[in-house]
Protein backbone atom coordinates (compact mmCIF):
# COMPACT_ATOMS: atom_id res chain seq x y z
CA UNK A 1 0.00 0.00 0.00
CA UNK A 2 1.54 3.29 -1.05
CA UNK A 3 0.04 6.50 0.32
CA UNK A 4 -1.31 8.37 -2.67
CA UNK A 5 -1.52 12.14 -3.06
CA UNK A 6 0.29 14.78 -1.06
CA UNK A 7 -0.44 16.58 2.19
CA UNK A 8 -2.32 19.27 0.24
CA UNK A 9 -5.00 16.77 -0.76
CA UNK A 10 -5.62 15.99 2.86
CA UNK A 11 -5.83 19.71 3.75
CA UNK A 12 -8.52 20.11 1.13
CA UNK A 13 -10.34 17.15 2.63
CA UNK A 14 -10.03 18.65 6.12
CA UNK A 15 -11.36 22.00 4.91
CA UNK A 16 -14.24 20.18 3.24
CA UNK A 17 -15.12 18.38 6.46
CA UNK A 18 -14.95 21.58 8.55
CA UNK A 19 -17.02 23.62 6.09
CA UNK A 20 -19.46 20.74 5.78
CA UNK A 21 -19.91 20.60 9.56
CA UNK A 22 -20.35 24.36 9.88
CA UNK A 23 -22.63 24.93 6.90
CA UNK A 24 -25.92 23.73 8.33
CA UNK A 25 -25.61 25.34 11.81
CA UNK A 26 -24.51 28.64 10.21
CA UNK A 27 -27.33 28.82 7.67
CA UNK A 28 -29.98 27.81 10.20
CA UNK A 29 -28.70 30.34 12.75
CA UNK A 30 -28.49 33.04 10.08
CA UNK A 31 -32.07 32.54 8.92
CA UNK A 32 -33.16 32.46 12.55
CA UNK A 33 -31.42 35.77 13.30
CA UNK A 34 -32.16 37.60 10.05
CA UNK A 35 -35.66 36.34 9.34
CA UNK A 36 -38.78 37.78 10.95
CA UNK A 37 -40.47 35.33 13.30
CA UNK A 38 -44.02 35.63 11.98
CA UNK A 39 -45.59 32.22 12.32
CA UNK A 40 -49.11 31.97 11.01
CA UNK A 41 -51.09 28.79 10.62
CA UNK A 42 -50.31 28.40 6.95
CA UNK A 43 -46.56 28.57 7.57
CA UNK A 44 -46.62 25.86 10.23
CA UNK A 45 -48.59 23.54 7.99
CA UNK A 46 -47.11 20.42 6.40
CA UNK A 47 -45.28 21.28 3.17
CA UNK A 48 -47.12 19.66 0.32
CA UNK A 49 -45.79 21.38 -2.84
CA UNK A 50 -47.98 24.40 -2.25
CA UNK A 51 -51.34 22.64 -2.15
CA UNK A 52 -53.30 22.17 1.03
CA UNK A 53 -52.76 18.76 2.64
CA UNK A 54 -55.86 16.62 2.79
CA UNK A 55 -56.51 13.89 5.34
CA UNK A 56 -54.14 12.24 7.82
CA UNK A 57 -50.60 11.39 6.64
CA UNK A 58 -50.74 7.79 7.92
CA UNK A 59 -52.73 6.27 5.09
CA UNK A 60 -52.32 2.55 4.52
CA UNK A 61 -51.19 1.45 1.09
CA UNK A 62 -52.22 -1.92 -0.25
CA UNK A 63 -49.60 -4.57 0.37
CA UNK A 64 -50.13 -5.62 -3.24
CA UNK A 65 -48.15 -2.59 -4.43
CA UNK A 66 -45.18 -3.84 -2.45
CA UNK A 67 -45.17 -7.24 -4.10
CA UNK A 68 -45.49 -5.66 -7.53
CA UNK A 69 -42.64 -3.25 -6.82
CA UNK A 70 -40.46 -6.15 -5.68
CA UNK A 71 -41.17 -8.20 -8.81
CA UNK A 72 -40.65 -5.14 -10.97
CA UNK A 73 -37.20 -4.50 -9.48
CA UNK A 74 -36.19 -8.11 -10.15
CA UNK A 75 -36.96 -7.80 -13.84
CA UNK A 76 -35.57 -4.30 -14.02
CA UNK A 77 -32.22 -5.66 -12.90
CA UNK A 78 -32.55 -8.49 -15.38
CA UNK A 79 -32.85 -5.97 -18.22
CA UNK A 80 -29.79 -4.10 -16.98
CA UNK A 81 -27.82 -7.31 -17.44
CA UNK A 82 -29.49 -8.28 -20.71
CA UNK A 83 -28.51 -5.11 -22.64
CA UNK A 84 -24.72 -5.45 -22.35
CA UNK A 85 -25.16 -9.19 -22.87
CA UNK A 86 -26.98 -8.57 -26.16
CA UNK A 87 -24.32 -6.07 -27.29
CA UNK A 88 -21.39 -8.39 -26.56
CA UNK A 89 -23.28 -11.51 -27.60
CA UNK A 90 -21.41 -12.16 -30.89
CA UNK A 91 -17.96 -12.09 -29.37
CA UNK A 92 -18.51 -14.26 -26.28
CA UNK A 93 -19.74 -17.55 -27.73
CA UNK A 94 -21.76 -20.41 -26.32
CA UNK A 95 -20.62 -20.03 -22.72
CA UNK A 96 -22.34 -16.70 -22.27
CA UNK A 97 -25.60 -18.08 -23.69
CA UNK A 98 -25.57 -20.88 -21.13
CA UNK A 99 -24.75 -18.44 -18.37
CA UNK A 100 -27.58 -16.07 -19.26
CA UNK A 101 -29.99 -18.99 -19.56
CA UNK A 102 -29.12 -20.04 -16.01
CA UNK A 103 -29.56 -16.46 -14.80
CA UNK A 104 -32.99 -16.11 -16.42
CA UNK A 105 -34.00 -19.59 -15.22
CA UNK A 106 -33.26 -18.60 -11.60
CA UNK A 107 -35.35 -15.44 -11.96
CA UNK A 108 -38.05 -17.46 -13.72
CA UNK A 109 -38.18 -19.86 -10.79
CA UNK A 110 -38.78 -16.89 -8.50
CA UNK A 111 -41.60 -15.68 -10.73
CA UNK A 112 -43.11 -19.16 -10.86
CA UNK A 113 -43.08 -19.27 -7.06
CA UNK A 114 -44.69 -15.84 -6.78
CA UNK A 115 -47.31 -16.92 -9.29
CA UNK A 116 -48.12 -20.12 -7.42
CA UNK A 117 -48.39 -18.25 -4.12
CA UNK A 118 -50.97 -15.99 -5.75
CA UNK A 119 -48.84 -12.85 -5.58
CA UNK A 120 -49.81 -11.88 -9.12
CA UNK A 121 -53.53 -11.86 -8.39
CA UNK A 122 -54.89 -8.43 -7.50
CA UNK A 123 -57.28 -8.89 -4.61
Amino acid sequence: MTPQGSGMDHLVLLAFVIIGCLFVPLTVTASHLLGRAKRDERKLDTYECGSEPVGPPWVQLRVGYYVYALLFVVFDIETVFLYPWAVAFNRLGVFIVVEMTIFIAILGAGLAYAWREGALRWR
Partner: protein, 456 residues
Protein backbone atom coordinates in the same frame (compact mmCIF):
# COMPACT_ATOMS: atom_id res chain seq x y z
CA UNK B 1 -14.32 -23.65 -19.38
CA UNK B 2 -12.27 -25.90 -17.18
CA UNK B 3 -12.16 -25.68 -13.44
CA UNK B 4 -15.84 -24.88 -13.00
CA UNK B 5 -16.39 -28.39 -11.63
CA UNK B 6 -14.98 -27.00 -8.38
CA UNK B 7 -18.20 -25.03 -8.03
CA UNK B 8 -20.41 -28.14 -8.21
CA UNK B 9 -21.31 -27.96 -4.47
CA UNK B 10 -22.53 -24.38 -4.96
CA UNK B 11 -24.42 -25.42 -8.09
CA UNK B 12 -26.13 -28.21 -6.18
CA UNK B 13 -27.21 -25.72 -3.52
CA UNK B 14 -28.68 -23.26 -6.06
CA UNK B 15 -30.49 -25.97 -8.02
CA UNK B 16 -31.62 -27.60 -4.78
CA UNK B 17 -32.92 -24.34 -3.33
CA UNK B 18 -35.01 -23.76 -6.46
CA UNK B 19 -36.24 -27.35 -6.39
CA UNK B 20 -37.33 -27.00 -2.75
CA UNK B 21 -39.00 -23.67 -3.52
CA UNK B 22 -41.02 -25.15 -6.37
CA UNK B 23 -41.48 -28.63 -4.86
CA UNK B 24 -44.91 -30.16 -4.38
CA UNK B 25 -48.24 -29.16 -5.80
CA UNK B 26 -50.52 -26.30 -4.93
CA UNK B 27 -50.57 -27.38 -1.28
CA UNK B 28 -47.10 -28.81 -0.76
CA UNK B 29 -46.12 -30.65 2.40
CA UNK B 30 -43.56 -28.57 4.32
CA UNK B 31 -41.99 -31.69 5.81
CA UNK B 32 -41.17 -33.21 2.42
CA UNK B 33 -39.73 -29.87 1.27
CA UNK B 34 -37.47 -29.55 4.30
CA UNK B 35 -36.40 -33.19 3.93
CA UNK B 36 -35.46 -32.52 0.31
CA UNK B 37 -33.46 -29.53 1.53
CA UNK B 38 -31.56 -31.74 3.98
CA UNK B 39 -30.70 -34.13 1.15
CA UNK B 40 -29.51 -31.22 -1.01
CA UNK B 41 -27.27 -29.86 1.77
CA UNK B 42 -25.83 -33.33 2.43
CA UNK B 43 -25.18 -33.81 -1.28
CA UNK B 44 -23.37 -30.48 -1.52
CA UNK B 45 -21.20 -31.39 1.48
CA UNK B 46 -20.27 -34.69 -0.17
CA UNK B 47 -19.60 -32.87 -3.45
CA UNK B 48 -17.32 -30.40 -1.70
CA UNK B 49 -15.34 -33.30 -0.24
CA UNK B 50 -15.20 -35.26 -3.51
CA UNK B 51 -14.27 -32.31 -5.70
CA UNK B 52 -11.48 -31.50 -3.27
CA UNK B 53 -8.71 -28.97 -3.64
CA UNK B 54 -7.72 -27.30 -6.89
CA UNK B 55 -6.41 -24.21 -8.60
CA UNK B 56 -8.12 -20.86 -7.82
CA UNK B 57 -10.91 -19.66 -10.07
CA UNK B 58 -11.69 -16.20 -11.50
CA UNK B 59 -8.18 -14.72 -11.20
CA UNK B 60 -7.84 -15.90 -7.61
CA UNK B 61 -11.18 -14.54 -6.36
CA UNK B 62 -12.19 -18.01 -5.19
CA UNK B 63 -9.61 -20.43 -3.85
CA UNK B 64 -10.02 -24.13 -3.23
CA UNK B 65 -7.33 -24.89 -0.68
CA UNK B 66 -7.55 -27.39 2.17
CA UNK B 67 -9.24 -24.92 4.48
CA UNK B 68 -11.90 -24.14 1.87
CA UNK B 69 -12.61 -27.85 1.30
CA UNK B 70 -12.77 -28.66 5.02
CA UNK B 71 -15.02 -25.75 5.90
CA UNK B 72 -17.30 -26.12 2.87
CA UNK B 73 -17.82 -29.76 3.77
CA UNK B 74 -18.45 -28.88 7.42
CA UNK B 75 -20.93 -26.11 6.58
CA UNK B 76 -22.85 -28.35 4.18
CA UNK B 77 -22.97 -31.12 6.76
CA UNK B 78 -24.12 -28.77 9.55
CA UNK B 79 -26.91 -27.40 7.37
CA UNK B 80 -27.93 -30.94 6.44
CA UNK B 81 -28.15 -31.91 10.12
CA UNK B 82 -30.12 -28.77 10.89
CA UNK B 83 -32.61 -29.39 8.07
CA UNK B 84 -32.89 -33.05 9.08
CA UNK B 85 -33.89 -31.90 12.55
CA UNK B 86 -36.29 -29.30 11.15
CA UNK B 87 -37.98 -31.84 8.90
CA UNK B 88 -39.03 -33.89 11.95
CA UNK B 89 -40.68 -31.02 13.84
CA UNK B 90 -44.42 -30.58 14.10
CA UNK B 91 -45.44 -28.09 11.39
CA UNK B 92 -46.13 -24.70 12.95
CA UNK B 93 -47.86 -21.64 11.54
CA UNK B 94 -44.67 -20.47 9.84
CA UNK B 95 -43.53 -21.40 6.37
CA UNK B 96 -41.05 -24.22 6.91
CA UNK B 97 -40.39 -24.98 3.26
CA UNK B 98 -39.31 -21.41 2.57
CA UNK B 99 -37.15 -21.58 5.70
CA UNK B 100 -35.35 -24.55 4.15
CA UNK B 101 -34.78 -22.52 0.97
CA UNK B 102 -33.22 -19.70 2.97
CA UNK B 103 -31.07 -22.14 4.93
CA UNK B 104 -29.74 -23.52 1.64
CA UNK B 105 -29.03 -20.01 0.32
CA UNK B 106 -27.25 -19.03 3.54
CA UNK B 107 -25.20 -22.22 3.20
CA UNK B 108 -24.34 -21.18 -0.35
CA UNK B 109 -23.15 -17.80 0.92
CA UNK B 110 -21.15 -19.54 3.64
CA UNK B 111 -19.42 -21.83 1.14
CA UNK B 112 -18.46 -18.88 -1.04
CA UNK B 113 -17.23 -17.01 2.05
CA UNK B 114 -14.96 -19.94 2.85
CA UNK B 115 -13.41 -19.69 -0.62
CA UNK B 116 -13.31 -15.93 -1.16
CA UNK B 117 -9.92 -14.26 -1.46
CA UNK B 118 -11.03 -11.01 -3.04
CA UNK B 119 -12.81 -8.14 -1.30
CA UNK B 120 -15.87 -7.76 -3.53
CA UNK B 121 -16.36 -11.52 -3.71
CA UNK B 122 -16.11 -11.65 0.07
CA UNK B 123 -18.67 -8.89 0.51
CA UNK B 124 -21.19 -10.47 -1.83
CA UNK B 125 -20.69 -13.88 -0.22
CA UNK B 126 -21.12 -12.31 3.22
CA UNK B 127 -24.35 -10.62 2.20
CA UNK B 128 -25.59 -13.82 0.57
CA UNK B 129 -24.88 -15.56 3.87
CA UNK B 130 -26.62 -12.98 6.07
CA UNK B 131 -29.61 -11.85 3.93
CA UNK B 132 -31.39 -15.21 4.39
CA UNK B 133 -30.58 -14.93 8.10
CA UNK B 134 -32.67 -11.74 8.34
CA UNK B 135 -35.64 -13.60 6.93
CA UNK B 136 -35.10 -16.63 9.17
CA UNK B 137 -34.94 -14.41 12.26
CA UNK B 138 -38.32 -12.86 11.47
CA UNK B 139 -40.23 -15.56 9.67
CA UNK B 140 -42.86 -15.97 12.40
CA UNK B 141 -44.82 -13.07 11.05
CA UNK B 142 -47.56 -13.08 13.68
CA UNK B 143 -45.03 -12.81 16.52
CA UNK B 144 -44.32 -9.12 17.02
CA UNK B 145 -41.36 -9.76 19.37
CA UNK B 146 -39.80 -11.93 16.71
CA UNK B 147 -40.21 -9.16 14.17
CA UNK B 148 -38.60 -6.71 16.58
CA UNK B 149 -35.61 -9.02 16.97
CA UNK B 150 -35.37 -9.49 13.22
CA UNK B 151 -35.50 -5.74 12.61
CA UNK B 152 -32.78 -5.12 15.20
CA UNK B 153 -30.64 -7.81 13.64
CA UNK B 154 -31.23 -6.41 10.16
CA UNK B 155 -30.40 -2.79 11.03
CA UNK B 156 -27.30 -3.57 13.07
CA UNK B 157 -26.03 -6.15 10.62
CA UNK B 158 -26.52 -3.69 7.76
CA UNK B 159 -24.67 -0.98 9.69
CA UNK B 160 -21.71 -3.27 10.31
CA UNK B 161 -21.77 -4.33 6.65
CA UNK B 162 -21.55 -0.70 5.62
CA UNK B 163 -18.69 0.05 8.03
CA UNK B 164 -16.87 -2.91 6.55
CA UNK B 165 -17.66 -1.89 2.97
CA UNK B 166 -16.32 1.60 3.71
CA UNK B 167 -13.12 0.02 5.02
CA UNK B 168 -12.88 -2.10 1.88
CA UNK B 169 -13.22 0.98 -0.33
CA UNK B 170 -10.43 2.69 1.63
CA UNK B 171 -8.36 -0.47 1.32
CA UNK B 172 -8.85 -0.30 -2.43
CA UNK B 173 -7.89 3.38 -2.41
CA UNK B 174 -4.73 2.61 -0.46
CA UNK B 175 -3.58 -0.40 -2.46
CA UNK B 176 -5.25 -0.05 -5.85
CA UNK B 177 -6.50 -3.63 -5.76
CA UNK B 178 -9.18 -5.80 -4.23
CA UNK B 179 -7.25 -9.08 -4.48
CA UNK B 180 -5.89 -10.37 -1.16
CA UNK B 181 -2.44 -10.91 -2.64
CA UNK B 182 -2.17 -7.18 -3.38
CA UNK B 183 -3.87 -5.48 -0.41
CA UNK B 184 -1.31 -6.43 2.22
CA UNK B 185 1.92 -4.55 1.49
CA UNK B 186 4.79 -3.46 3.71
CA UNK B 187 3.98 0.22 4.26
CA UNK B 188 0.22 0.79 4.60
CA UNK B 189 0.26 4.47 5.61
CA UNK B 190 -2.40 6.16 7.72
CA UNK B 191 -5.13 5.51 5.16
CA UNK B 192 -4.28 1.82 5.07
CA UNK B 193 -4.39 1.52 8.86
CA UNK B 194 -7.81 3.17 9.00
CA UNK B 195 -9.05 0.98 6.16
CA UNK B 196 -7.95 -2.17 7.96
CA UNK B 197 -9.52 -1.00 11.23
CA UNK B 198 -12.87 -0.31 9.54
CA UNK B 199 -12.90 -3.72 7.88
CA UNK B 200 -12.16 -5.51 11.13
CA UNK B 201 -14.54 -3.46 13.25
CA UNK B 202 -17.27 -4.57 10.85
CA UNK B 203 -16.13 -8.18 11.02
CA UNK B 204 -15.79 -8.12 14.82
CA UNK B 205 -19.35 -6.86 15.09
CA UNK B 206 -20.54 -9.63 12.77
CA UNK B 207 -18.78 -12.18 14.98
CA UNK B 208 -20.50 -10.55 17.99
CA UNK B 209 -17.16 -9.95 19.72
CA UNK B 210 -17.06 -7.43 22.56
CA UNK B 211 -17.25 -4.41 22.51
CA UNK B 212 -19.45 -4.80 19.42
CA UNK B 213 -21.60 -7.60 20.81
CA UNK B 214 -24.58 -5.65 22.15
CA UNK B 215 -26.91 -6.57 19.29
CA UNK B 216 -26.64 -10.34 19.68
CA UNK B 217 -28.56 -11.05 22.94
CA UNK B 218 -31.48 -8.78 22.01
CA UNK B 219 -31.74 -10.03 18.46
CA UNK B 220 -31.47 -13.69 19.47
CA UNK B 221 -33.93 -13.35 22.35
CA UNK B 222 -36.51 -11.85 19.98
CA UNK B 223 -36.13 -14.49 17.28
CA UNK B 224 -37.51 -18.05 17.28
CA UNK B 225 -35.01 -20.48 18.83
CA UNK B 226 -35.28 -22.63 15.69
CA UNK B 227 -33.75 -19.82 13.63
CA UNK B 228 -31.19 -18.80 16.23
CA UNK B 229 -29.81 -22.36 16.20
CA UNK B 230 -28.86 -21.91 12.54
CA UNK B 231 -28.09 -18.19 12.36
CA UNK B 232 -25.77 -18.18 15.37
CA UNK B 233 -23.67 -21.10 14.15
CA UNK B 234 -23.33 -21.88 10.44
CA UNK B 235 -22.75 -18.32 9.12
CA UNK B 236 -20.36 -17.79 12.04
CA UNK B 237 -18.14 -20.67 10.92
CA UNK B 238 -17.94 -19.22 7.42
CA UNK B 239 -17.38 -15.74 8.82
CA UNK B 240 -14.45 -17.01 10.86
CA UNK B 241 -12.74 -18.35 7.75
CA UNK B 242 -13.21 -15.00 6.00
CA UNK B 243 -11.88 -13.29 9.14
CA UNK B 244 -8.85 -15.58 9.32
CA UNK B 245 -8.02 -15.24 5.62
CA UNK B 246 -8.14 -11.43 5.82
CA UNK B 247 -6.20 -11.34 9.08
CA UNK B 248 -3.48 -13.60 7.64
CA UNK B 249 -3.03 -11.15 4.76
CA UNK B 250 -3.31 -7.87 6.67
CA UNK B 251 -1.64 -8.61 10.02
CA UNK B 252 1.89 -8.51 8.56
CA UNK B 253 1.30 -5.01 7.17
CA UNK B 254 -0.60 -3.69 10.20
CA UNK B 255 0.95 -5.41 13.27
CA UNK B 256 -1.20 -3.27 15.59
CA UNK B 257 -4.08 -5.57 14.64
CA UNK B 258 -2.62 -8.11 17.05
CA UNK B 259 -3.26 -5.68 19.92
CA UNK B 260 -6.80 -4.98 18.66
CA UNK B 261 -7.55 -8.70 18.55
CA UNK B 262 -6.01 -9.28 21.97
CA UNK B 263 -8.08 -6.50 23.56
CA UNK B 264 -11.29 -7.64 21.83
CA UNK B 265 -10.50 -11.21 22.86
CA UNK B 266 -9.99 -10.29 26.51
CA UNK B 267 -13.14 -8.14 26.57
CA UNK B 268 -15.23 -10.86 24.86
CA UNK B 269 -14.04 -13.70 27.09
CA UNK B 270 -14.51 -11.81 30.35
CA UNK B 271 -17.74 -10.02 29.45
CA UNK B 272 -19.34 -12.95 27.64
CA UNK B 273 -18.71 -15.41 30.43
CA UNK B 274 -19.82 -13.05 33.21
CA UNK B 275 -22.89 -11.66 31.44
CA UNK B 276 -24.15 -15.17 30.69
CA UNK B 277 -24.61 -15.86 34.43
CA UNK B 278 -27.81 -13.94 35.24
CA UNK B 279 -29.63 -14.91 32.01
CA UNK B 280 -32.86 -16.83 32.38
CA UNK B 281 -33.46 -17.27 28.64
CA UNK B 282 -31.46 -19.98 26.89
CA UNK B 283 -31.18 -17.81 23.76
CA UNK B 284 -29.67 -14.90 25.69
CA UNK B 285 -27.42 -17.24 27.62
CA UNK B 286 -26.17 -18.83 24.42
CA UNK B 287 -25.75 -15.38 22.84
CA UNK B 288 -23.37 -14.35 25.63
CA UNK B 289 -21.69 -17.74 25.45
CA UNK B 290 -21.23 -16.99 21.74
CA UNK B 291 -19.56 -13.68 22.64
CA UNK B 292 -17.16 -15.55 24.92
CA UNK B 293 -16.40 -18.15 22.25
CA UNK B 294 -15.73 -15.42 19.68
CA UNK B 295 -13.18 -14.22 22.23
CA UNK B 296 -11.34 -17.56 22.26
CA UNK B 297 -11.29 -17.52 18.46
CA UNK B 298 -9.75 -14.02 18.54
CA UNK B 299 -7.17 -15.18 21.06
CA UNK B 300 -5.88 -17.64 18.45
CA UNK B 301 -5.85 -14.85 15.85
CA UNK B 302 -3.94 -12.51 18.15
CA UNK B 303 -1.13 -15.08 18.04
CA UNK B 304 -0.69 -14.22 14.34
CA UNK B 305 0.91 -17.57 13.50
CA UNK B 306 -0.20 -20.25 11.01
CA UNK B 307 -0.92 -22.54 13.97
CA UNK B 308 -3.09 -19.80 15.45
CA UNK B 309 -5.06 -19.29 12.22
CA UNK B 310 -5.73 -23.02 11.93
CA UNK B 311 -6.69 -23.19 15.62
CA UNK B 312 -9.17 -20.31 15.16
CA UNK B 313 -11.03 -22.13 12.39
CA UNK B 314 -10.94 -25.44 14.27
CA UNK B 315 -12.27 -23.64 17.34
CA UNK B 316 -15.35 -22.24 15.60
CA UNK B 317 -16.15 -25.69 14.26
CA UNK B 318 -15.75 -27.09 17.78
CA UNK B 319 -18.08 -24.36 19.06
CA UNK B 320 -20.68 -24.50 16.30
CA UNK B 321 -21.71 -28.17 16.59
CA UNK B 322 -22.56 -28.38 20.32
CA UNK B 323 -23.93 -24.84 20.37
CA UNK B 324 -26.35 -25.61 17.55
CA UNK B 325 -27.40 -28.83 19.29
CA UNK B 326 -28.13 -27.01 22.57
CA UNK B 327 -30.26 -24.46 20.73
CA UNK B 328 -32.12 -27.23 18.90
CA UNK B 329 -33.04 -28.90 22.19
CA UNK B 330 -34.12 -25.51 23.53
CA UNK B 331 -36.23 -25.03 20.42
CA UNK B 332 -38.03 -28.31 21.18
CA UNK B 333 -38.44 -27.80 24.92
CA UNK B 334 -38.89 -24.05 25.37
CA UNK B 335 -36.52 -21.13 25.56
CA UNK B 336 -36.52 -20.35 29.29
CA UNK B 337 -33.93 -22.11 31.42
CA UNK B 338 -36.82 -23.26 33.62
CA UNK B 339 -38.46 -24.90 30.60
CA UNK B 340 -35.67 -27.47 30.69
CA UNK B 341 -36.72 -28.51 34.21
CA UNK B 342 -37.41 -32.22 34.41
CA UNK B 343 -35.95 -32.97 30.98
CA UNK B 344 -33.98 -35.82 32.53
CA UNK B 345 -37.23 -37.49 33.61
CA UNK B 346 -39.17 -36.71 30.43
CA UNK B 347 -36.47 -37.49 27.87
CA UNK B 348 -33.39 -38.96 29.56
CA UNK B 349 -31.48 -39.53 26.32
CA UNK B 350 -31.85 -35.88 25.33
CA UNK B 351 -30.80 -34.74 28.79
CA UNK B 352 -27.59 -36.79 28.65
CA UNK B 353 -26.81 -35.57 25.13
CA UNK B 354 -27.26 -32.02 26.44
CA UNK B 355 -24.77 -32.78 29.20
CA UNK B 356 -22.21 -33.85 26.59
CA UNK B 357 -22.79 -30.70 24.50
CA UNK B 358 -22.50 -28.42 27.53
CA UNK B 359 -19.34 -30.18 28.76
CA UNK B 360 -17.85 -29.68 25.31
CA UNK B 361 -18.70 -25.97 25.43
CA UNK B 362 -16.96 -25.71 28.81
CA UNK B 363 -13.97 -27.56 27.35
CA UNK B 364 -13.87 -30.87 29.22
CA UNK B 365 -11.76 -33.66 27.63
CA UNK B 366 -12.18 -35.80 25.58
CA UNK B 367 -14.87 -33.71 23.83
CA UNK B 368 -14.16 -31.50 20.84
CA UNK B 369 -14.39 -28.26 22.81
CA UNK B 370 -11.41 -29.27 24.92
CA UNK B 371 -9.20 -29.76 21.88
CA UNK B 372 -10.44 -26.50 20.38
CA UNK B 373 -9.41 -24.61 23.51
CA UNK B 374 -6.18 -26.59 23.89
CA UNK B 375 -4.89 -25.65 20.44
CA UNK B 376 -6.02 -22.03 20.80
CA UNK B 377 -4.14 -21.76 24.10
CA UNK B 378 -1.06 -23.53 22.73
CA UNK B 379 -0.89 -21.14 19.77
CA UNK B 380 -1.33 -18.13 22.05
CA UNK B 381 1.33 -19.30 24.52
CA UNK B 382 3.77 -19.90 21.66
CA UNK B 383 3.20 -16.29 20.61
CA UNK B 384 3.93 -15.05 24.13
CA UNK B 385 0.35 -14.16 25.13
CA UNK B 386 0.68 -16.01 28.44
CA UNK B 387 -1.32 -13.55 30.57
CA UNK B 388 -4.19 -13.58 28.14
CA UNK B 389 -4.23 -17.38 28.23
CA UNK B 390 -4.27 -17.35 32.04
CA UNK B 391 -7.35 -15.11 32.01
CA UNK B 392 -8.96 -17.24 29.30
CA UNK B 393 -8.42 -20.45 31.28
CA UNK B 394 -9.84 -18.91 34.44
CA UNK B 395 -12.84 -17.61 32.48
CA UNK B 396 -13.41 -21.09 31.01
CA UNK B 397 -13.52 -22.51 34.51
CA UNK B 398 -15.97 -19.79 35.50
CA UNK B 399 -18.11 -20.56 32.44
CA UNK B 400 -18.85 -24.00 33.90
CA UNK B 401 -21.15 -22.24 36.36
CA UNK B 402 -23.75 -21.05 33.90
CA UNK B 403 -23.62 -24.13 31.69
CA UNK B 404 -24.22 -26.23 34.82
CA UNK B 405 -27.28 -24.12 35.61
CA UNK B 406 -28.84 -25.76 32.54
CA UNK B 407 -27.76 -29.18 33.83
CA UNK B 408 -29.20 -28.44 37.28
CA UNK B 409 -32.46 -27.38 35.69
CA UNK B 410 -32.63 -30.58 33.60
CA UNK B 411 -31.77 -33.01 36.39
CA UNK B 412 -32.57 -31.50 39.78
CA UNK B 413 -35.27 -28.84 39.39
CA UNK B 414 -38.88 -29.58 40.25
CA UNK B 415 -40.69 -30.00 37.00
CA UNK B 416 -44.27 -28.93 36.46
CA UNK B 417 -46.40 -31.63 34.84
CA UNK B 418 -46.35 -31.15 31.10
CA UNK B 419 -46.51 -33.00 27.85
CA UNK B 420 -43.15 -34.10 26.47
CA UNK B 421 -42.30 -32.62 23.08
CA UNK B 422 -42.79 -35.33 20.45
CA UNK B 423 -40.83 -34.55 17.31
CA UNK B 424 -40.19 -37.33 14.79
CA UNK B 425 -37.35 -39.82 15.11
CA UNK B 426 -35.23 -37.90 12.61
CA UNK B 427 -34.82 -35.05 15.12
CA UNK B 428 -33.21 -37.49 17.56
CA UNK B 429 -30.96 -38.78 14.78
CA UNK B 430 -29.87 -35.23 13.93
CA UNK B 431 -28.94 -34.61 17.56
CA UNK B 432 -27.15 -37.97 17.70
CA UNK B 433 -25.10 -36.87 14.67
CA UNK B 434 -24.13 -33.69 16.52
CA UNK B 435 -23.16 -35.85 19.50
CA UNK B 436 -21.03 -38.10 17.29
CA UNK B 437 -19.22 -35.08 15.89
CA UNK B 438 -18.73 -33.69 19.39
CA UNK B 439 -17.28 -37.00 20.60
CA UNK B 440 -15.16 -37.90 17.58
CA UNK B 441 -13.90 -34.60 16.13
CA UNK B 442 -11.67 -34.28 19.18
CA UNK B 443 -10.01 -37.60 18.35
CA UNK B 444 -9.07 -36.28 14.90
CA UNK B 445 -8.04 -32.84 16.14
CA UNK B 446 -4.43 -33.30 15.07
CA UNK B 447 -5.34 -34.37 11.54
CA UNK B 448 -7.93 -31.60 11.11
CA UNK B 449 -5.54 -28.94 12.33
CA UNK B 450 -2.83 -30.31 10.07
CA UNK B 451 -5.14 -29.98 7.08
CA UNK B 452 -6.36 -26.52 8.08
CA UNK B 453 -2.80 -25.35 8.70
CA UNK B 454 -1.68 -26.36 5.17
CA UNK B 455 -3.33 -23.23 3.83
CA UNK B 456 -0.86 -20.85 5.46
Amino acid sequence: MSGLERLIPEGILIAGAIAVLLSGGARPSPRAGVGLGAAVAALSAIAALVVGTGEPLFSGALVFDDMAVTVRTAIGALSAVYLLWLSAQEPGPERRREAAVFVLLATLGGMLMASARELITLFIALELGTMPAYVLMGYRREDSRGLEGALKYFLLSMTTSLVMLYGMSLLYAASGSTAYDAIGVADPGLLGVFAVLFVFVGLLAKMSAAPFHYWAPDAYAGAPAVSVAFVSTVPKVAGTVAFVRLAAVLMPSVPELGVVFAVASLASIVLGNLAAYPQSDVRRLMAYSGVAHAGYMLLALAAATPAGYAAAVYYTLAYAVPSMAVMLVAAEEGTAVDDLAGLAARRPRHAWMMVAFLLSLIGIPPLVGFFGKLYVFLAAVDAGLVWLVVVAVLASVASAGYYFRLVRSMFFADAPEREAARPGALAGIALALCLTATLLAGAFAGELLGVLGLTF
